[in-house]
């Protein structure tokens, strides 16, 4: 009776010690955090004496993973952004135009002359001179389409071609739109990540949510507005030929031209050609620098293709102005003095040093493929976070002590056994949180406190059962055994149902609610483990040592 094989005991204590060991760094939070930061910096930027000193604050052979503190505890900013995926359709169609043009020109005899006309966004409209040859034109253009290689879109092509009178209309097919959307969101995610990383704050989290949304949370940043400025700027840099300069924003720009305002000259507008000479995607580097007059500027370098296009254009258009356009605003429109072959250049404008640094960061990280709109935002000041940590700490300690005392008063020695298990239990929660790299939020702390209260439940069930079994007086050892045996089904049923709700909360919740679900769920797991194995083992070990004739629960 009451036998637990040696290997099982070893396993139980082994698990407890291991997880508690993993939880230990959290007890030395600031030191371990300094160590971790230093390690990261040394890897990224090399050693300095301070970094080495910080690194040695915590021995390297000890575990160093910590429970992440959520935004509500550390302070920072959270944004939910939606990627305007439709923006990309227009770019895609612009990209198709040269191919379409070349293919139709080859068929000039039947189709006649062709001309691109403006259509709704995301559609490529081409007027052809011989409408009766529309069938042939459609055929030619359809040949340009490519099959889609994706799970959902197999068997369909990337463009739909149709004829409306004398106009050929080319759009992206539905399947291609889906594939494009997915690519756009992934690209945006990557670029947002690069931009946030450039700023270098600790543990930013950037995740995709659903079809076209991105969740960004950055601890330690001053406000959501700052974050928005950093990631919300499209930073689409393009170079265009200048048609003319005007003071009237409503002038008709003419076919395939557009009007863009000047960034620093009030009331000045440029009429620019829609065809881009070079775009920011062909940049390989951008750095803040100064022009020959000592004003802040951004110097840049093109990749070989970009350099060639830029070189050719400048060679052909000496004496004509060209415009450097950022997000549809003209930064500057210098006149081409000479052929620029090397593929590098400098952007001047009325920048401050901060502006030029920010612009260089944005250009280096790349342009967002589509605009972002912000659906939800949250800023939490660091002081409020600290207040919440302090309040949470005090509340947890008081709750903990009160429950310990209450259990001791109610169950005496067995209460102390349960208390040991409870202490282990909270340690285990922190250990698991560190191992899976979960984030602790304020509701998460509430989850832990709730677990402290509920964790004793399994022990209470067992103890009450032992009390009952003692009444039938079959000896203490039998009573303990029966107590555990008979309470098990109630313990399992009760905890499985609570666990189900924790899982649903986790699956459907977001942000703080999720933090609560994690600690609640883990708390249920650890409390069942401690009640069924740890407390039982403690009781058995005590029983073996003392061999009491009677016990009082």
């Amino acid at each position: 009776m009451l036998q637990i094989p040696f290997w099982k005991r070893l396993l139980i204590w082994g698990v407890v010690v291991l997880v508690l060991f993993m939880a230990m760094p959290n007890a030395f939070y600031p030191r371990v955090e300094r160590h971790n930061d230093a390690v990261k910096l040394i890897e990224a930027e090399g050693e300095t004496p301070e970094r080495l000193a910080d690194m040695s604050a915590w021995p390297g052979w000890l575990p160093s993973s910590l429970v992440n503190l959520g935004l509500d505890l550390r302070g920072g900013a959270y944004l939910l952004a939606e990627v305007k995926v439709e923006d990309v359709y227009a770019d895609r169609m612009d990209g198709y135009w040269p191919e379409v043009r070349d293919a139709l020109r080859a068929e000039r005899e039947t189709v006649g002359s062709i001309r691109r006309v403006d259509g709704p966004a995301g559609e490529l409209h081409v007027k052809i001179a011989n409408p009766e040859a529309m069938g042939r034109a459609m055929e030619v253009v359809s040949e340009l389409s490519r099959p889609i290689l994706s799970l959902t879109g197999t068997g369909s092509n990337d463009i739909d071609v149709s004829g409306q009178g004398d106009t050929l209309v080319i759009t992206l097919s539905e399947a291609e739109k889906l594939a494009t959307d997915d690519r756009t969101v992934r690209q945006s995610l990557e670029i947002v990540r690069r931009r946030v990383d450039e700023v270098g704050t600790r543990e930013p989290s950037i995740q995709r949510q659903g079809e076209d949304r991105i969740v960004i949370s950055v601890p330690g940043i001053g406000s959501a507005d700052e974050l928005k400025e950093l990631i919300g700027t499209t930073a689409k840099l393009t170079f265009h030929g200048v048609v003319s300069r005007t003071a009237d924003p409503d002038t008709a720009p003419g076919a395939r031209n557009f009007v863009a305002p000047s960034m620093d000259e009030e009331g000045v507008y440029y009429i620019l050609s829609q065809d881009t000479v070079v775009s920011g995607e062909e940049l390989t580097d951008a750095q803040p620098s100064f022009d020959q007059n000592g004003r802040p500027a951004v110097s840049f370098r093109f990749n070989p293709t970009g350099a060639r296009k830029f070189g050719d254009y400048t060679a052909e258009n000496i004496g004509a102005p060209f415009a450097i356009v950022l997000d549809n605003e003209v930064i500057s429109a210098p006149v081409i003095q000479d052929h620029i072959p090397g593929g590098s250049g400098i952007i001047t404008g009325s920048f401050t040093v901060e502006d030029s640094t920010q612009l260089a960061v944005l250009l280096r990280a790349g342009a967002l493929p589509a605009e972002l709109t912000f659906l939800q935002e949250r800023t939490i000041g660091p002081e409020l976070g600290q207040d919440s940590i302090d309040a949470g700490k005090i509340a947890t300690i008081v709750a903990f002590v009160a429950v310990l005392v209450f259990m001791w008063l109610s169950y005496g020695l067995f209460g102390i056994f349960a208390n040991i298990a409870l202490v282990i239990n909270v340690g285990l929660i922190f250990g698991l949180l560190s191992i899976i790299g979960a984030t602790l939020t304020l509701p998460g702390i509430a989850g832990i406190v709730l677990t402290v209260g509920m964790a004793v439940d399994a022990n209470v069930l067992v103890f009450e059962r032992i009390r009952e079994e003692l009444k039938t007086a079959r000896g203490p050892s039998r009573a303990i055994e029966l107590g555990y045996e008979k309470a098990l089904s109630a313990i399992l049923d009760a905890n499985v149902t609570t666990f189900i709700t924790a899982v649903i909360l986790f699956a459907l919740g977001s942000g703080p609610v999720r933090g609560f679900a994690i600690t609640l769920g883990l708390g249920i797991l650890t409390s069942v483990f401690t009640a069924i194995y740890v407390t039982r083992l403690i009781i058995v070990m005590w029983f073996e040592r003392r061999r009491p004739k009677t016990i009082e629960v």
């Binding site: 939800q376 209450f406 169950y411 406190v449 189900i500």
Partner: protein, 325 residues
């Protein structure tokens, strides 16, 4: 000397006044539903969209002056509430300002926030803004849907689990208790007008979990006693089971309440509504497992003639009880 909250070997009849207790529960639920439609919940921005700004200052909060300062900005409906004794710090005055969702599907523009902050700084130069939260109307609609889905899913999952482990009568009893707990909690939120946001939904689901926990423990004992006392009247079996588990029920509720109350008092005002919902839920959940779940089980009755082999191996009140242990 042990602390005993429940005397040894109670033999209380929990169904002596079942008409009264059950009637009270039904009345409370009906009243809650009526309150919900007549008074309504004090929905937070998670559900309505809009912006909340938390202000902190060493000077007293002058709600009237704040309102006066914000009026020229033309932001629509604004509610300003002072948060009392936020952290028991004497010179810290906290207020919560809520602004209705602005046009468009974006959360809020930086300009609007700056304008609000500047206006309030005009009233009180020492004011700071430790937190700003904003939810666009598009998202808030989705949040409501997800929240309702979460509660419904949780109840359905539980209904299924209990049916699997017990019998359908138990399942109905447990779910009736859950619906009771959630309805009554929403009722108290209508009365007290505590802000109802996403964390409260989390609290509601925890109440679901807790209330079930309690109900399941009682039912587990009922199942066991149905096997033991084959010819005893169902009412008596239920009473025996409830009395036997009473000590545990009270112990667990008390430890949980101890933990929650310390969190309520010391945990700061940010989560106070959330903790309040859970405290209320623990009390109601404990009550409902006896006076709603078991009472319904008593009304529905359970198949008692398990002595004949009816194809289930003679195990009373159970379908898959052999899963346990």
């Amino acid at each position: 000397m042990r602390l005993k909250l429940v005397p040894k070997d109670t033999k209380w009849d929990f169904f002596k006044r079942w008409k009264l207790t059950f009637g009270a529960s039904v009345f409370a639920m009906l009243a809650s539903v009526m309150l919900f439609f007549a008074v309504g919940l004090n929905f937070g921005i998670d559900f309505l969209g809009g912006t909340t700004i938390r202000t902190e200052s060493t000077q007293a909060v002058d709600v009237g002056a704040y309102r006066q300062a914000l009026r020229p900005l033309d932001l629509g409906d604004i509610s300003i509430t002072e948060v009392f004794d936020a952290d028991f710090v004497a010179d810290k005055r906290v207020a919560q300002i809520r602004i209705q969702a602005q046009e468009g599907h974006e959360a809020i523009t930086p300009d609007t926030i700056q304008a609000i902050e500047a206006a309030l700084q005009g009233v009180d130069p020492e004011i700071t803004f430790p937190s700003v939260e904003s939810v666009g109307p598009e998202v808030s609609g989705e949040l409501v849907q997800t929240a309702i889905l979460a509660v419904v899913l949780a109840i359905a999952a539980v209904l299924f689990y209990i049916w699997l482990r017990f019998e359908w009568q138990f399942s109905l009893g447990a779910v009736a208790a859950l619906v009771h707990d959630i309805t009554v909690t929403i009722g108290i939120f209508c009365i007290l007008q505590i802000r109802f946001d996403l964390t409260i939904i989390a609290a509601l689901l925890t109440i679901v979990g807790y209330s079930l926990n309690d109900t399941v423990v009682v039912f587990d004992r009922v199942r066991e006693n149905l096997r033991r006392y084959k010819s005893t009247e169902l009412k008596q079996v239920l009473n025996i089971s409830i009395n036997e588990t009473l000590s545990r029920t009270v112990m667990t509720s008390v430890t949980t309440l101890i933990a929650l109350i310390s969190l309520y008092i010391l945990g700061g005002d940010v989560i106070r509504g959330f903790v309040f919902a859970m405290i209320w839920g623990v009390v109601v959940g404990t009550y409902s497992s006896v006076f709603v779940a078991s009472a319904i089980l008593l009304r529905l009755g359970v198949k008692r003639d398990w002595s004949k082999n009816s194809g289930d191996g003679g195990k009373a009140g159970t379908q898959f009880a052999n899963i346990d242990a």
